[in-house]
């Protein structure tokens, strides 16, 4: 009885993990890209606000 429960439990965990990884791949993949764009904008802007030299090449 316990073994049957544990098999069902691990089955849910394994297939749930595959689904969760697949979901994260798309969700975090898209939104993480936006986060990077925002972070780079802020880091570029800091240079101007602080009157310090901007990123090399700018």
């Amino acid at each position: 009885m316990l073994d049957r429960f544990l098999i069902a439990f691990w089955t849910v965990m394994v297939f749930g993990s595959i689904a969760w990884y697949g979901y994260l791949l798309f969700h975090v993949g898209i939104k993480g890209g936006w986060d990077i764009a925002r972070m780079i904008r802020v880091l570029s802007g800091q240079g101007g606000e602080n009157q310090s030299p901007g990123p090399k090449g700018q």
Partner: protein, 534 residues
């Protein structure tokens, strides 16, 4: 010999995937160098990391080839029960993400490393001592990454891990091992972008690595289940356990170790209460004090973002152990039905050799790129974290005059390089005394037990005293260090079990903190009373 039987060919499409990935990743990392102006940008990305980038970075850093290797080994030896540490880590991440336990006060303190927090509470000497212990545990822990990563890549590509090649340089001949050369080259690429761009490069490359690695993990797991069949996998595990199947591990020359399948579904039957409770304790300590995890908390925009990162990443930990565990189970069943492990193969290397048999052109390239991604993201994150601790908590407190921002940056970059050099030498010759996960957990415990005790006491126990802090650090390191030394010397039957070493570390650290604080406070009161009287 197994390797002679393998038709080793990486198809052009495999090479294209691998080369495009490597060039793209290194180029993106090096490009971020332009945004680094000071140590804050270099070490914590100017504290501008947002939620989804944090999830990607944490997930990428926490899954390296070494993770895939030891979690697959757990599956190979213990079936689905081998994923228990991942389940426990998931529960602990969720609890911390919901309550903010430790991480909220830590993020609000505005520190760059954990030992820095200790200076505010216990004084400079505790910060320095904690920094030393963090480095000792962290760098030893990282020491086996390259070797295991190299083993994986060689076996999955169907190459002989003992293969050597010959080069002549200015009339001097060298015989170089393929693994050593390959992993040194990979480490040089990682060093290139980590030294130049610090956390900013790490975040960007982690993001790319998260995408490649995630795709590789999902595709490979589906493929393994497709090949073996889920009901065959469950039935096979049960049969292997009940019939006492023995596979012979001959990975260490001159020794043969029997590998049997423990109870494949029940963690208590497979490992015992001592191991499971130690893992639960280690998990809560890891998610609150492991510097590479905490680095994402400290780089988060605010405490709420840090909590969200924990909640969103929690279930990821189940798959971190569960999915490569399935690959290990597939390897066990495959080699069992093949009549046993080939000569020179063991519980760690069976999984990549098994994957080589089921992956076709294109998929092999994807999996190799995914595992390169996993290795690079972990190495870069760890290199940066430990280098920051060395500068921030070991060098900086000893300086009479603060370094200029330029000298600070140069020092941290130099530390990254030095750790890289250490890894090449230590990482490529160290022979594991037992299971990879146990080695990692025990070396991690050198600092996990003491720092967890210090952190909880510093944040939640007003009576904690610096004497208790010093006692906790020293006593907490004794158990794991004894484990490493004794197990390297004595015969297998006399070796210390990892759960005893691990629990003793926590027990001694707690006892040290309580007793040391009580004694320290009594002495302090006595001194102040004496001063008042006189």
């Amino acid at each position: 010999m197994f390797f002679a039987a393998i038709d080793f060919t990486l198809a052009p499409i495999d090479w294209i995937i691998i080369v495009v990935y490597l060039i793209g990743c290194v180029a993106a990392g090096v490009w971020m160098r332009r945004y680094v102006r000071n140590v804050d940008d270099f070490a914590v990305a100017g504290r501008e990391m947002d939620l989804n980038l944090g999830v990607a970075s944490l997930a990428a850093t926490e899954v390296g080839i070494v993770t895939v290797m030891y979690t697959a080994e757990n599956g190979f030896k213990n079936g689905l029960a081998g994923a228990t540490p991942g389940l426990l880590a998931c529960i602990m991440m969720l609890i911390v993400g919901m309550t903010g336990f430790v991480i909220v006060p830590m993020r609000n303190a505005g520190v760059m490393t954990i030992p820095e927090l200790f200076e505010k509470r216990f004084g400079k000497h505790v910060r320095w001592l904690a920094g030393v212990v963090v480095i000792l545990g962290g760098v030893l822990n990282m020491g086996i990454f390259l070797r295991l990563g190299g083993d994986f890549l060689m076996f999955v590509a169907g190459l002989d891990p003992a293969a050597k090649f010959h080069i002549d340089l200015a009339g001097v001949s060298f015989n170089l091992g393929m693994i050593e050369a390959m992993m040194t080259g990979l480490l040089l690429l990682v060093l290139l972008y980590t030294v130049l761009g610090g956390m900013l490069s790490v975040l960007i490359t982690d993001y790319l690595q998260f995408l490649v690695m995630g795709a590789g993990l999902v595709v490979t797991s589906v493929l393994v289940i497709w090949n073996v069949g889920w009901s065959n996998l469950i039935d096979g595990l049960w049969q292997a356990h009940t019939s006492g199947v023995k596979l012979l591990d001959t990975s260490i020359p001159g020794t043969t170790t029997e590998v049997t399948m423990a109870h494949p579904f029940n963690p208590i039957a497979a490992f015992g209460w001592g191991w499971v409770t130690w893992q639960a304790m280690t998990s809560i300590a890891i998610v609150t004090t492991w510097q590479t995890t905490i680095a994402r908390v400290l780089a988060a925009r605010n405490a709420d973002t840090a909590k969200s990162i924990y909640r969103r990443t929690s279930f990821y930990y189940v798959g971190r152990f569960g999915l490569p565990g399935i690959w290990g189970i597939g390897a066990f069943l495959y080699f069992w039905h093949q009549g046993g492990l080939p000569e020179g193969m063991g519980s760690l290397t069976a999984m990549p050799a098994f994957l080589h048999t089921i992956l076709g052109p294109g998929l092999l390239g994807l999996v190799i790129a995914a595992m390169l991604a996993a290795e690079m993201s972990t190495d870069s994150g760890y290199l940066l974290t430990w280098a920051t601790v060395i500068y921030n908590d070991i060098i900086s407190p000893c300086l009479r005059k603060p370094l200029s921002p330029r000298a600070k940056l140069l020092t941290v970059r130099l530390m990254v390089l030095l750790i890289g050099v250490f890894l090449v030498f230590y990482g490529l010759w160290y022979q594991l005394p037992g299971a990879a996960w146990d080695y990692l957990a025990v070396t991690g415990n050198i600092y996990l037990a003491s720092l967890f005790t210090l952190l909880v006491a510093a944040l939640y126990w007003p009576g904690a005293h610096s004497w208790g802090a010093v006692a906790a650090i020293v006593l907490g390191a004794i158990g794991p260090v004894t484990f490493l030394i004794v197990n390297a010397i004595v015969e297998k039957q006399n070796q210390i079990s990892p759960e005893i070493a691990g629990w003793s570390a926590f027990g001694l650290a707690f006892a040290g903190m309580i007793v040391g604080s009580l004694v320290g406070r009594t002495v302090s009161k006595g001194r102040s009373a004496g001063t008042t009287t006189s």
